[in-house]
Symmetry: C2
Subunit: 112 residues, 2 copies
Amino acid sequence: MTGSQETWLPQPDLDAIDVGTVLQALADPVRLQIVRALDAVGESTCSALDVPVKVSTVSHHVHILRRAGLVSTRLDGTSRPSRLRREELERRFPGLLDAILHAPPPAPPREP
Amino acid sequence: MTGSQETWLPQPDLDAIDVGTVLQALADPVRLQIVRALDAVGESTCSALDVPVKVSTVSHHVHILRRAGLVSTRLDGTSRPSRLRREELERRFPGLLDAILHAPPPAPPREP
DNA sequence: CGGAAGTTACGACATTAATCGTAATAGTAG
DNA sequence: CTACTATTACGATTAATGTCGTAACTTCCG
């Protein structure tokens, strides 16, 4: 049919992931920024992400996100674009990802 | 009427709290355990919580949770019982606390 | 086949954070 | 007023973790 036959980097079964692992993965500001960026663009490689750290560090963070079950990475030639595991996460932790991604930004401190 | 006149430890305005701060506070296993315990019993002091660390460490973790806007602490004589800021958290981050507290435990790895 | 580009694994360094023991503080009962 | 209890602030130690530079690896294209 489609003949897509895509290959993916090995990723954990979400049922075996504890919610604490997910929270720990999302605790880092850079990783949260990566998750938000992936939510916005849908799919991206490490080098294409606009984050204030070096590419090798981005790769490290994406690796942690993948181990925590948050993203899946596709093999496409020399490129390895990653995306959020939306549907699976919604089934495993209903409402969690949405609650985090749609959280309103903090109000600035009141100035006199 | 009731004349309760309760006093509380200073706590931040939830509107000024970033979701990243909340996630970072919940990232530690001990703190997540504390939050679950408070969810179960409603209110508790540091020394009454059943966690595998010393009381001074529990106090440290509760302090972090309070700074992150997750718990509020009441002054009651020599006792300082803390509780979750449920309603406020629900208004600030709808669905977040429930998603975390009601997350199903991980499935054990398949054994042959 | 060989050069070029993108990605990640590896090792090292710096920073952060968790934990504990002890001391200081505040309230309560006798 | 004094002894006792509960809590937290403080300082020190140890364990994690984020960051980077470099090298190795894979794929694509001429």
